[in-house]
Every structure is written in structure tokens, then in C-alpha cells.
Assembly symmetry: C2
Homo-oligomer: 540 residues x 2
Amino acid sequence: MTYQSDEADAWRSLGSHAERMDAPENHLSFLMAKENRFAECTVTGGGILYDYSRQRVDRDVMASLIGLAKNRGLMQQFLDMTRGKTVNRSENRAALHTAARDFSGREITVNGVDVAAEVRRVREEMREFAHKVHSGSLTGTTGKRFEHVVVIGIGGSYLGTEFVAKALEGAADKGVSLHFLSNVDIDCFGAIARVIDPETTMWIVISKSYTTTETMANARQAETFIRRHNLEPKDHIATVTAKGSPGDDPDNPVLGAFHMFDFIGGRFSVTSAVGGVPLSLYVGYDRFERFLKGAEEMDGHATDADPEENAPLLAALISVWNNNFLGYAANAVIPYSTPLSKLPAHIQQLYMESNGKGVTGDGILLETQSGVIVFGEPGTNAQHSFFQLAHQGRPFPIDFIGVVNPHHGSYTQRSKGVTNHQELWANLIAQPRALAAGKAAPDDPARHFPGNRPSSTIVINDLSPENIGRLLSFYEAKTVFEAFVWDINPFDQFGVELGKTMAGEIRSSMARKNEDPDYRFDGVGEIERAYLDILSKGGV
Amino acid sequence: MTYQSDEADAWRSLGSHAERMDAPENHLSFLMAKENRFAECTVTGGGILYDYSRQRVDRDVMASLIGLAKNRGLMQQFLDMTRGKTVNRSENRAALHTAARDFSGREITVNGVDVAAEVRRVREEMREFAHKVHSGSLTGTTGKRFEHVVVIGIGGSYLGTEFVAKALEGAADKGVSLHFLSNVDIDCFGAIARVIDPETTMWIVISKSYTTTETMANARQAETFIRRHNLEPKDHIATVTAKGSPGDDPDNPVLGAFHMFDFIGGRFSVTSAVGGVPLSLYVGYDRFERFLKGAEEMDGHATDADPEENAPLLAALISVWNNNFLGYAANAVIPYSTPLSKLPAHIQQLYMESNGKGVTGDGILLETQSGVIVFGEPGTNAQHSFFQLAHQGRPFPIDFIGVVNPHHGSYTQRSKGVTNHQELWANLIAQPRALAAGKAAPDDPARHFPGNRPSSTIVINDLSPENIGRLLSFYEAKTVFEAFVWDINPFDQFGVELGKTMAGEIRSSMARKNEDPDYRFDGVGEIERAYLDILSKGGV
């Protein structure tokens, strides 16, 4: 990383703070006990509460972090991103996922084109499409209403939509079941094929280039499956793809082709047609739009709020602090809400693919670590799974996420004097304290809790579409703010290319063997040949 | 950790090896290229193939690791465990999960009792129970066959069974749907209540003590739900619990009460009645027994094979090497098989709860790190999610898992000349090489792949119940072998107690407020009170 002098100063001063925070008197049990700690370390913005009172920070640390944010111009970089500047420099593109949920009516110009108008057009197409499907005016070959929607897509064309669909499952009142065909594994296809009715199934193929290997392999299986049931692929397939791609070809008609744009990257595309087409079918377009409006509200907060009050910016700065200065290699995301169970997998992708980089945006090798490992499971499940290690093993910071009002709050049977939802919150409240405060047990080392384990808590009021949008946008903004600190490009992913190239070489060997049973896999390495032989002969 | 002198020597020599392996000439691209690398670094045992050819080891490293295993008596400790010695010293118990799948007929004596006979008795009860349910001779209150089974359990009473159930989903031909009610979150209950038919639903409550807070809260919701539908709880609830617990009370009859034993810990209990009752109902008792026999076979391999040929022992030693000597803080588990998608969550619990410890079995503070963070998603999905970071960011070792023959191999439509399953394997073969070999790109740093990123590959021939049992036992044995290296107790979990205690205090405040609306949450900290207020007033 190359720093200007005052940036280097900010980085150095944070290093000194880290040494200071390691001192016993700065153990979290003392930091938490300071008067007004909660009020001082909590911001409410964009419809969520962000509480960093259990992070290993004090006023001086926060002042230095905010100084770093200002030195590095993070707010300006974020604003530039939302205005359509070419922030994805390595691919010479804008990064305008915020435009996907812009309802202001303003122009956003990229290369002389008002992309906001393009986005509005696609939104209108999605609205009409969902209406036609739900009203039964658009059907499959045999005239039956669509009751199953299979989303064929992987990575950025899958995980975000799955997160939102699961979060809004309680609002899925359109008579449509949603299935995700992501993995090229034929057992992924097979499990779905078992439970759907071909006549009432729509397949949505999502790929910007319409060449993604896994997605095309699954689309091909789907076409064969459709035809085998005497149905017409054009009556059962819709696409979400770039304008003019092989999936947007008038000679190859489909139920509908919805455009993706090169200024919205896969892992940031949930609020585009990638999420919009399946989610509109699953929960209705109106709820999808409410979801967008929640995201828009958080975008506004991230853009406009002062650094001291800016929830995703503060979260990003604290994440950098935990990573580069306190030395934590991982961060867990623990939603205390079963409907948010797919949030960790989405954030894992969003964050690790965006920020798992080795070079700056200018191609200079990083001298510091970039992104951490993200993982998580819902609480309280996680407490009964891996929290043993969280409390007494190798420490890692945690994002706790709480939902004030559950979807099924009508079940009020009490146990130990509290409802299930209260029990859930008792744990959400207790765990950050237990991790932070710890407990000395001089005579019983196995029950010694070192404490000083940091966490944040994020609270939304309920599982409304707006709040899911806010949560999504919060993590998107946090992710890019961190990238801006390191000066890396969060929008490219060259790191996945080598594996694809090598898989292509192995695939070619397999294809040749399919044509020529005598082929002996010459030209691949010894280890690779061993595996090709195992697969060919059908066993180890 | 306290070492005898030759153990300290082994540890020191591994430290020297680690420095040596950091030299450029020991980059994995060179190690992999050595002649016979695959044959030398692969063992086949217990029905699986374990390949460590892409780990950062050479003959000298392996010799030192095996020396460590011998110095620390790992094989003897494992044998002691299977013989019923009190290896769980802090709780003064045996750890006999291997007895749950022992079909040898031998006696296994604990405190003068032949526990093998007890285990056989429970197996027989499960067999009969499943038969009665499947034949329709045991029904709910209204005489209808059971078609839904809801497993109420959390942590060790949940994750392993979910893993196996998902793996064997393709064999679920008994007309029974399985649901997991784990989280105390009322939205977990609500989502299940929406999709089941109360008359045809059996609830299996799984808790050794029958006091687990979340499980009891959910059991109470279930009872209320059953009664509200004019059904009798005794006709719809079965239990898996310790003999004489409140769930095994003749005055409170249930469909069946199946015993858990204190010599089998939660996270090791999948092969006991914890997994056995739900899995027998879901896929039939015969398949459950085949699953047990696979696990038994791997247990025999782990017990009997020489260290040099012992797959779980080698995997454990390499894991310690990666952790304590090469400094990797995490390990990913990536099954290239959608039906194995819940394996990572199970191993995350099994490993992190067992090995996330801060003290030795004798209560001495560890001077070295114990277990790492475990996480994972199926491949190829993971490639499109977080593999950017795996290739170019912070490195972490990976367990790749392959299945030679998929369940749905009958779909043979080809894309790019290969079947979906071949495409999957092309990636399974290519990724370890890409991670290990890397690729220099002096003129294009963004496409520079440093390589030298280690992985193992584990192969099973298909998704038969036997192979799922083998895989399960492999990871159980690997987990305890690692614990034996550090001399920690993998069978206790005192680290979860502090959070439970603190949650109890918060719960009491909530319960008091439920009775007395004027109560102001005196006596809890400022931060905790803020959250209690948010929940009481219903929003932030």
C-alpha cells in the first residue's frame, strides 16, 4: 500500500493505539463499563442500529480511524461510485449497484447514457412480467399457471437472491415455490427435478455473459428435461443477461429476457434483475420494490451521514482495525433470526470476493493484509456449535444481528417465564457481554474465560422487505469502504481465473476421452491423471 | 503444553522444518512435481482415499509428524478411548461413540456394565419403532400414518443428523419428510408449523438432560400446538434422552423414549439414537445400520492401521502442522457434492467445539494454539463465492471432498463435451492444482497467483449410507487425534457455560418484566438495559 505522509501517520498512530489497547486496563470489561458507553458507541441510521460498544475501541481509536477515513477520502470515493465514475479501474467500468435502487429520478450518466432510465425500464418490465405470471395470463406450454421457479445461476447470480428469498419467505403468498439450481453437480439438478412439476415450472437462467460454465451446463440439462416432458423451452425459460448475449437473442425466444448491466457486478446485483425477476415472482413486485427502497435509504445514509454517524463506514473502519491492527484473521456473522440464515453465506461471498485481494487498484502488491475470512450460522444454533472456540479458543470478532419483532410472534407460549423470542434475545444480549467481559476462575482453569473478545450488534426492527434492503446495503457499503481503505478494487475478481483455466484443460481431456475411450490422459500431471483414472473407472 | 524431552524435540524439529518449507525451493509447485508424489502421499483405508500430495510436506516433515504421533502415544490414546477408559477426564466419563456402531459383539465395560449390550438394545428398539411407524401400526391420535417428523434438538442433537439426512435424501423412500426445529427463534417454529399437517406429524425431542433451554422451549411450543389441534401429545411426541430424565418418565408417556448415554457426547452422537431415531424413520432402519457399519469400518482403520497408513491420523497431523507450524488460522471443508452440503456445518461444530480449548486435559493453560476455524460451502459454489480470497488473499488450507459416482448420474446431457458430473470433477481436480502451483504474472500483478496454498483431497465412491458413515467417522477420528496431540479434552465444552449463565440472568429480568410491567430492568448493565428496552418497546 502506498500512503501519502498523513495517511502513513494515521496508520502509524493506529499501530500505537493497538499496543495501548493490549494493556490490561483496556480490557473490554473496563471499556464497556465506562459511563455512556452504549450511547457513545451506537449510531442509528438508514433504519438500523449499529452498536460497537463491545469493540476494542475508545474515543482515541475512533478519532484516529475517522482521521484515516478522511485522509483516504472514503466519503468522496463512495460518492464517486454512486455518481458513475469508473471506480472499477481494472475493468474500466463504473460500479453502480446503488443505481439499481435509485428512485430519485435523477440522471446517472455513464459514457453519455442515462443508466438510471435503463434501470427504470427493466424494473417496469419485471413488474409487468410478475403481474402476468401471477394473473395466469403468462403460462407454460400446456396453459397451466407457473407454480415453481427454478433459478439457474451461481455465485453472484445466486447467493444474494437466496438470502433475500429466505428472509422474506414468510411473505411468499403468490403460490410460487422457489428453487436454486446453482452447483453444476448433477445431484443439485436431480434433487430439484424430483420435486417440481415440469408443466408448472419456469426456469430463470441468470448469467451476464450467458457463458458461465456451470449455469450453461444446468441450462442445457433443463432444456433437455423440458423437451423430454413434451414442453417447449421457449415457454418455460426466462433469462437475466446482458443485452445482446446469447441469452438475449430474438432468434432464440424465451418468456422474457431481462437485462443486466456491466456497471453492476455479480455479488452486488441482488437489487438488479438478478434478484428482481425471481423475487418479484416469489413475493410480488411490490415487495421487491419495498426491498429496493430500504436499500436506497441505507445508500443515502452511507453517502450523506458524517463519518462519526455513518454506520457502514464505522463498521468498515472497525473491521480494518480488528484485522490490520488487532490481528484477527476472521469475522463471524451471526444473525439471531432463522429467516436471516443465508445472510452469512451472502456476506461471505460479497466480502471475501470483493476484499480478498493481493494488489491495489493500481496493481501494486499489498504490504498489508486485505480482507478476512467471513463465516457464520444463526444464533442460538451457533452457540451450541462453534462458540466453545469463540469463548476459549482462538478469538475472532463477531457481528451479532438482532430482529426486534419476529415474523411469527403470535406463538406466545412461555418457557421459564419468557417467550421463545425473549429467550432468543436473552442470548443475543448475553453473548456479546460474555465474550467481552470474560470471567476469571483462578482455581478452575477449564472454566476460565479470558474475555476481551470483540463484537458489534446490528438491530433491525422486523423482517420487512425494507429492512432486508437496509441490511443488504449496509454490508455492501461496509465492504466497499474497507476496500477504499486498502485502495484495492472490490469490483474485480481476477483471482478466480487460474482455476477456471486449469479446469478447462482437465475438461478438454475428459471430452477427448468421451470421444476416444483409448485416450490415456497424456499431457496432464501425474496427480491429475490419477483422479481422471479414478473417475473413468468409477472408483478408488 | 507440557512435553517430555523427546516430545519437545519432535516439536522443535517440526519448527525447523517449517522454516525450511518456507524456502522458495519448497514451494508446492516443486513438491507436487516430484516423482511418485501422488502414490507416496495417498492412503486408502476404511473405504476412503485420503490424498495429501498438495500439502506443504515432504518425507522429512511426515517422518517428524509421525514421530510426534508416536511420542504422544496417539494410537494408544485412541485405543483407550474405544475400550471405554475415562478419556473425558474433566467430566469423569468414557467417550464411546465408537461403541454406538460396534457390531463385533464384544463386551465394552464401563463401571462394570457392558455398555455394548445397552447399545444393542437401543438399536433394536429403533428398528422396531421405525417398522411400526412405516407399517402404519403406530399412528397419531387420529389414526393417520406419520408423514412428517420434526426433530427438536440443537447443536449435537441436530447438525450431525441434518448432515446425514441431506446426504441420504436420495434414499428417503419411506414417505416421511424430515424437519429440524433447532433454533429457539419462534420463526424457526413458525416456518415448520406452516408446512406440516399436525395429524400426521411426529415430534422427536432430543436432549440428554431434557433441560436444554432451547429444546424445552420448542417442545413446549410443540405441545401447545398439538393440543390446539385437538391431538394428544403422548400420541405425537417421542424422546431421545438419558434414562430417568424428565423425558423418560412413565408418568408422562410418549410414543417412545430412546436412551442416550453419558459416554457419548452430543457432537459425537450421530450414530446413537440421536441420529438413529430420525434417520431410521427417514430412510429406514436398514440404511441407518449400513451407515453405522461404514462408520465401524473407519473406526477399525483408525484403531488398527499403522500411523503411516492411517488416514484420519495423517489428516490430524497435517492439520496440526498447518496450524501450529505454518500458521494457518482456518481450514475450509469443500465437498464437491450438493448432498454433502451440510458436512461443513457439522464438522465446524465437531471440530471447533472439541478443539477450541484453552487448557490441557489437566487444566494447564495451553502455550500453543489449539483448534482452527472451520468453514465451508459446496464446490463449485464456493469457487464463485469466496475462492477469490483463497487464491489471492489470506491463505487457508482446504479439504476437498469428491464423490466418484453421483446419485443422479442418469442425467447425461453434455455441455462443452462433458457431463455435469465430469464438469464438477474437472473443477475438483483443477482447484487444488491452481491453489498449489499458482502462476507468475510479472507484467500483470492483478493476475499474479502466489500459489503454495495447501489442500487435501478426500474421495468416497458414492453416497451410499456406508460411505457417509465412513466420512463421519474419519472426521471424528481426525478431531480426537488432534486433541490428543495438544493433550486437550475434546469431549467437554465448559466454554459455553458463561454465556448460558449470563443469558439466564437476562431471562430472569425479562420474566420479571412479563409479570410486572413497571419493572425497569434494574440490576443489569447499561448496555444490556438498552437492549431490554428496545425489545420491550418493540423497536430501536
